[in-house]
Symmetry: C2
Subunit: 152 residues, 2 copies
């Protein structure tokens, strides 16, 4: 865990933009960096409420946008149309494996796939987006559950 460093970055960004720091901004920023990587706006709101931080849904959305703009957070559309946010952490370029059934997200690193993606993008005149490759599938538990219900 990295502590309040990100909060400082966020504060600097906010001030540099001529915006203001508020208790809500602070709470949202802290919360997203204390959570595991991937969560959606609703989950973030729930986590804040559980901590008795009274913040409205609209404020969560507005400030997630701000965190994305300042580069601390990444917005990902993963799997079945879910919009997830993950805090950016220094580390290897990773991509995502997503369970279509339960939504579980696993990060993976594969230099081989990065190289092939570059080749495919070049061939079609695309510019690859970082972290923009995703593999959909079924996790072990959901695959088992699917087979079971097929037998029934």
């Amino acid at each position: 865990m990295t502590g309040p460093r990100e909060l400082r970055v966020f504060e600097d960004f906010v001030h540099a933009r001529g915006l203001r720091m508020t208790a809500e901004r602070r709470a949202i920023c802290e919360e997203i960096f204390e959570q595991h990587s991937h969560l959606d706006a609703g989950a973030l709101l729930g986590a804040l409420r559980r901590r008795r931080v009274p913040v409205s849904r609209a404020t969560v959305y507005r400030n997630l946008d701000l965190l994305v703009e300042c580069g601390l957070v990444r917005r990902q559309r993963l799997g079945s149309g879910r919009t997830l946010y993950e805090h950016v952490h220094a580390g290897q370029e990773h991509d995502h494996l997503v369970c279509e059934s339960c939504g579980r997200v696993v990060e993976f690193v594969s230099p081989g796939i990065v190289a092939l993606r570059a080749e495919i993008c070049r061939a079609h005149g695309f510019e690859p987006q970082p972290h923009g490759l995703q593999i959909l599938g079924l996790c072990r538990a959901c695959a088992a559950a699917t087979k079971e219900s097929a037998h029934a």
Copy 2:
């Protein structure tokens, strides 16, 4: 173009289920097989209306579900949360390259990436979903537009 073969498949499926064939079902099935691969429910509705086929939005959704169940159509969640439908055509297993900006979808075939996906899925206990790999990026036009506006 394959002609009305799919329509026959759909009719058989509908009857095998104890359901009934209707003018709306016929029109929806025909339309989706005459369109290029990827379109969403709204676009399909628009295409039908342009042909003066009076059909309601709800019916389009209900019958897309049915076409997916019968295996003639695949539902894909591509890119920025869009739900697209593509008619299934015999051919190579392909995956999708999606422009994050304009939504353009390009199909590509890459045995190398299929092999790597299998390996990654095995490593994490996942079962890969066919056509379930997508690469997000920017197409040439959108990449150029982005750079231009950055200069401005």
